[in-house]
Every structure is written in C-alpha cells, then in structure tokens.
Point group: C2
Chain length 502, copies 2
Amino acid sequence: MSAAIRVAPTAATRATSLLRTVQFTHPPNCPCHSNPGYHHRHARPQVERYAQRTRETGKRGFASPLDPAQQKEYAFEMAASSIRFGPGVTQEVGMDFANMGAKRVCLVTDSTVRQLTAVKQAEEALSREGIEYEIFDKVRVEPKDSSIKEAIAFAKPYNADAFLAVGGGSVIDTAKLMNLYTEYPDADFLDFVNAPLGKGRPIDKKLKPLVAIPTTAGTGSETTGTAIFDLVAKKAKTGIAHRNLKPTLGICDPLNTKTMPAAVKASSGLDVLFHSLESWTAIPFNERTPRPTNPILRPAYQGANPISDIFSLNALRATVKYLPRSVRDPEDFEAQNEMLLAATLAGVGFGNAGVHLCHGMSYPISGQNPGYKHAGYEVTSPIIPHGVTVAVTAPAVFRFTAPSNPDRHLAAAEAFGVDITNVKREDAGEVLGEAVAKFLADLGDQPNGLKGLGFTNGDIENLVEGTIPQARVLMLAPGLAKELEHERDQLRRLFENSMTHW
Amino acid sequence: MSAAIRVAPTAATRATSLLRTVQFTHPPNCPCHSNPGYHHRHARPQVERYAQRTRETGKRGFASPLDPAQQKEYAFEMAASSIRFGPGVTQEVGMDFANMGAKRVCLVTDSTVRQLTAVKQAEEALSREGIEYEIFDKVRVEPKDSSIKEAIAFAKPYNADAFLAVGGGSVIDTAKLMNLYTEYPDADFLDFVNAPLGKGRPIDKKLKPLVAIPTTAGTGSETTGTAIFDLVAKKAKTGIAHRNLKPTLGICDPLNTKTMPAAVKASSGLDVLFHSLESWTAIPFNERTPRPTNPILRPAYQGANPISDIFSLNALRATVKYLPRSVRDPEDFEAQNEMLLAATLAGVGFGNAGVHLCHGMSYPISGQNPGYKHAGYEVTSPIIPHGVTVAVTAPAVFRFTAPSNPDRHLAAAEAFGVDITNVKREDAGEVLGEAVAKFLADLGDQPNGLKGLGFTNGDIENLVEGTIPQARVLMLAPGLAKELEHERDQLRRLFENSMTHW
C-alpha cells in the first residue's frame, strides 16, 4: 500500500463525513499525498497561495479544513483510445498514418508475430501509402526493464514521428514506453514507474501517435494507458500507468486473432474474464483516498465507476458466453469476433477502474514458477501464461471480496448463468467462487489451483511478500486491510485457499 | 439522401453478396462516392495507382471488382471525448489548461449562462492558475451560420491556444466551429458542412484543445464531433460532423445542471431519450453504403454498432427511470446526476451511431413553427424546444421503424417498463409507439402531437420538403425508401400520424 493511504488519522478525519456529501472543496494543502514521491509542477503555487491566504485572513485559505490524504475522491474520469473494429481493417493503417501526416513509423512487434499475416498486412498498408518504416521485432514476451530499455535505445536514434504496435500486450506495452521515453529523452527510467517502486511522475506532454493492432484477444492494452513489466532489481512486476500513455487508435481486426492456438485463446480469454470481474468488483471510485489535488494526478486505476461498470459487465457476460466456444471450435468465428470485442471492452473497463487481487497476486505466481509448463504452449522453458496466473486464485478471491458488495457479486454470478433468485446475500461469495471454479474446470486444461502449478504451502510466505508491493492494484481490493500485518494475514489465507479448487 | 447511395445498381451488385462475408477488399476505384463533393487529398494517389496497375496488368488494380458505392461497410469506429464527472469538478478546469500548457483561453458561452455559477467557477479556476482568457458570450441559442461566423470573427484575432465552452449544445457546438475555422483560416464556410448542402470535407488537422462544460443534461455535445446550426440561405438545419471536431475533455458537473427550470429539464431530457432510442434503432453499421475508401471518410454517424449499443441502451434505461423524477422534484439530486450521466452516455452512443427520423423531421418542425410558445419557457417570441420537436413525431416513427428489427424495438419497449413476455414480434411497433406516447403524456406539459404545436394537415408538404435535405440522418433510418418519391410518401404518412398521439 502507498504511504499516502496509511497516514494516521487526525482530528480532521472526524469532519470527513461532511465530505461524503457532494460538495467540492478547493485544492487543499499538500498536493504530494496523492502521488507519493512526486511534487507536481503545477501544484506547488497552490500550496503557496493557500499559505498566503491563511496568513492574510487568519482562516484556512481554502474551503476545506481537512487533510487531503484523508479525503475521498469525488469524481471519476473516463478516457479510452479510439477503437476501430472490423475483419480486414488492418489494411487501413497506412492511410491512418498518412492522414496524421506521419512519414517515419517505428513498427514494434516480436519475432513470432513478425511471421504472421498481421505484420505483413501492416507493412503492405504502410508501403501502399509510401510511408517509411523500420521494424523493431525484439520485444520480449513478459517484458523486463532491460528489454524495454533496449527497445527505447532502438527508438531514440530512429526518431519516428509515430509508432505502430502489432502484437499482444507485451508488444503494445513496450511500444507505449518507447513512445514515452523518446519524448522525455532525459528522464530517468524510474521517474514514471508506479510508486512506491518508482516516482509515479505523471505524463504531462502529448506523446507521438501510437496505433495498436492486437493479435490476441486478451490484454486490452490497445485501449489503456498502462504498460506492465518486470523491474528486475526489485524482483517485482510493476508498470507505468497514465491516461496520456494510451494509444491514439486501437485497430481490432478479428482476422489477426484467428491464428491463436486454442491454449492461447483460453489463457488470454481468462485475462479478459478477470479484467472484467476485478474492475466490476473493485472499490467504488468515491471510496478511494486521497482525493487528487490536480486532475493530472487522478489515477487511471480509480475504482469502479458508472461508466467502467457498463464496459466491465458487458465484457463479463460476453466472455462467459463466447470464451468456451472460441476455445473449443477453431471455426467459430462469431465467438472469436466477440472475444476480441470483449477484450477491448474489458480494456476500457479496467483501464478506467483498475484490477485488484487476482492481478496483484498473479505477479509473484508468475515470477516464482516452480517449473510448470502449460499444456499447449510449445516452449522449452517453464511458463504459466498470464491469464492462468490470474485465474488460479480467483475462486478464493471472490469469496473474500463478496461481503464488500454482495449485490455486485450476485450480479456477477448471474452473468455466469447461476439462478440467483433465492440466493442469500451472505452466500454471494460462495456462489460466485463456485461458479468461477466450475467455469475454469469446464474450460479444460486449467491447473486445479496453485498445487496444480507445483506450489506447496511452503511457498506461501514468498508469494505473500511478492504481492505486497502491488500497491496500485491492492488499494482497489475491497475488504483488504490497510494495516500491513493484517493485510499479510489476509493474503496468506487467500493463497492457502487457492491450493485446490475442485 | 446523398447521391452516393442513389447510384443505380450495376452488374457488379450481383457479386455484392460475396462481400457480406468478412473478407476485406483493398481500396477500390473511386473514393469520392463515400463523401460526395469532396476528393480527399490522400485518396487521389490510390486512384492513380489503381489506374496504373490496371494498365500494367490488364487486371483491375485492387482486389475488389466492385463499385465501392455499392459495397457495404465492414468496420465501425468508436471515438469519444474523455469525460470527467463529479459534483464541483468545474473547479479543476484551470489546472487542466495549465497541464496542457495553454496560456490564452477563449471562453465561449451565452448571455444567460454567463450569469450562472458555472461560468463564475470556470473563471475563478482559470484565474487561480494565472491563465489569460477572453469571454465570447454572444452565442445564439439555436445557432445560425451568421451567428457562428460572428463567433469565428471574434476568435480569429484573439488567437487562443485553447477553447473552453460553458453552456448547452448551442454553446459547445459554436465553440467547436470557432476552433475549426481558426485552424483553417482560409477555408470557405461550406467546405466542412455536411453534404449535400456543403462539401463534407473531412477534418484532417488536429484542432486546438477544447474543454466543454455542459450546463444542460441533453445535447451530449461534450462527447461528440457534431455541431448543428441553421444554414439560413438554404432554409435548412445542417451541421458539421467529424470525429476530429470532438472536445478533448467533457467536464460533467451536476452542480451546473441544478439550476435548470423544470421545463428545460424535461425538453433537454427528451433529447437524451431520443438520442438513445434513435441510435439504438438506427440501421446497423454493416448495412450502410458506401464502404469508405479511407478511414478518415468513415462517418461518425455510422449506424448502430456493438459499442454504441451498450451506451444507447444504458442511457435509454436511465432516462426512462430518472427523467420524470428530475422534472417532478427539483430536490432530487440523484435523478439530476443520473440524467447528466445519461446525457453523456447517450452522446457517446449517438455520436458513434447517429440518429434518424425523429431528429431529421425535427428540423423543419422547429423552422416552420406556426407560433407555439412552450410552457415554462419565458420568451417573447415563439419557441418549440429542440427536445420537444424531436419527441413530437416519436410514437409514429417507432411504429414505422419496428418491422426492420422487432427484437430491438421490443427491448426498447421493455426499457419503458412494458412486460413484453407475450408480445408478438409484429406488434413491436405498436407496443413501443404506445409506450413512448404514454411516457410523453405522463411527463406533463408536452404537446399532443403536431396539432398541439399548431400545425395542420396543410403544413405537411412543407414539413416533408424540409426533411428531405437531412440526408445524413435519413440514411440511417431503417425502412425508409431510397427512392425519393417513395421516401416522400413515407415521410408524409409519418407527419400525418404525428398529428395527435393521445
């Protein structure tokens, strides 16, 4: 958890309930609590004016007498990339760059995707418009800071006036960071990395246009301002997240996802499922603290809100319906189309609300893999696909979060096809947990809990310690304690309860 | 109807059904059909390359042997302004401009709104950040080309580096056009106006940042790329519509809509209702012709699509629930909040799908007002509020459109609270038409059809002729004939059936 939300209660908190009403209060005294470690360049003068008014009037300078770190959020913001969706639409991308006036494009991909039609179509589209481009195809799947730095080193001298990412989440995320750090050539890599591992500096410049063409139906990265990677020195998965990092345009072409093997369809689809379910059940935006003192500091992962809810619930229903069909039948193009759309909708949902425990706990599971190789992945070294690491704790997670908002968890169970007419609210967690476990078991080839991945009870302490740094998502987990030892206990129990599910 | 969709069928249409399959075809021969009257600067080289390849190979240069004007659309695009929502959030707007690096802001409003707290809050927010601004408060409600030209003449010498619109749809639309024409100082006013009245030139430059703060819960203009006005010389309501016209950010602050009188709440809420219902029932995007040859030519009003559907249906349900409450009880802040949110959601819906007959027929109703003064509007000259002009034909419209898609019309009836369990599909129109009429009657102070506004059967021919130029929306009306005399007959009957509703 970030330092900001651990500030000890002061006398001022007694007045906090006043603020539950809708009245806005002026920017309060210290803007730094909202993003530990970073003093925003525009926030400082407010503090000075506040102090001055206080001296002049003998009263507090602004309307609110409260510590901002204690104040809850009162607003939410929805931002998403433009999305174009249609079979074959990849071939329009050259015209898009021509329309933007781009002349030198950096095409980002990985060595596997480079062999696929998607990249060939994109290259043809660029050539048809006479647009110069250079390909960087060394993106690492599950990027590390080192692989991202390598990509940035490629991009800097090429001096592209636009970026094109063709691939899965790793490719799109890497392209986002190539775009970011070429625009801030003197920045330290940690400047923009999420606090507390990095400095959480907000992105206050307009980046170059980035068009993202996903080749999996999973990540939703084509619509979000998030980029995830391993920070090797800290042994942690972290990322950079800011609205201004989001692509200009996501081009969703179902012809590009047809080639996914069934196992990849399943695991990337599980990512979609839990993007939806976690953003739907995240704490509400107006329960998040602190209230940002400048809108640029309002996190993209802001908690569930009325607009993200619409996306998340729709994506959840679609995934429950179409993921099993798309995994089972490679000729079911309707199901594939719908899964690509669901991935993008879920991207808008979690991109404006956030994810929580399944994702937070997934990072140490992936990093501490005891040697599991997922069926259907033709690899020489052990791998637990991201979607599988997320899904493996899910039945326990939603049993844990349900008491925070039983109605939402019941609605989710209903999306899984459960008849909730006579289910009691106190049984919401049990019912949803069971529905999720059944869905995973029925999908096929999924590990039965952490044991199925080769973890034992002896691994739990390390898994817990690997989860603790995921402050950005853990702060959105309903019911998770803010006190560190209590939080450790809760996480320990969640891992224990994830050992087997059926 | 535009010339493009009236092209007589050729032999090539026999092959069109092949294209119903998902396969993309390369840009075909003439890019102009997609936007009559405008040859796009990037499209021309494709035509030349096409001709050259045809000469060289003896075969048609691109994959498709079909006339593009006959091809149906295969993709859709969703674009929306970022939206920030919260009570009091107006006060953040100065920081937004500071974050963008804007130093000179043109604040656009009208003389009525200028007296309200919203403008004062915005001014304070700009001053607090030391941002220079100038106010243009001469926006005309229901703008004319002349009032817009006056606004542009104000904006040009001021040379703002960003725009701020505070007001209803007229204000936000005028600000969009001030932004557009200061960026294209040498353009003729008609260049960008929708075909066939104007040249329908697409906007291919990035405009200056525009932040829109709505003070009504109606227009949704804060999220759309559309601006509507009267083209006086042509006696027609028309507009300019392109994604690149959309505001950078819509700031939706429920404190700004609290002051609307009940009558304004009702009529602006009716606009929301029919933005939702028309976009939900518009023809599907993949039934629209022609297929654009360049993505910049893809209209924002593209027909119903899977993403607009989500917004439209949600906004419809919310409006049915909260509009009557918000009109009846000035203290019902929950209903006011929800209506502001619904207006914005409906804006995203129709902004990416379009509206059809209610809006298309509303423009001559407003222009040919026989002298009606709406209750609750304190004006000296006659006025039919926009939402009322839209609503007054609605029962007849949805009876007419229902056979195109009975299931969607039944779902809409269900949103109005009708139990559709045993309703036959062929009764969908009757059931929805009746539900809409009942909703209007129950809302109170609504005219009972065109007669209630003072129109007689003798006015119908002029109303029909005034509707015909609304090609951009009529092309999205399901069931409307493409043949002009047939279309006239249908419109005539719709006006006749709108004389009284209860």
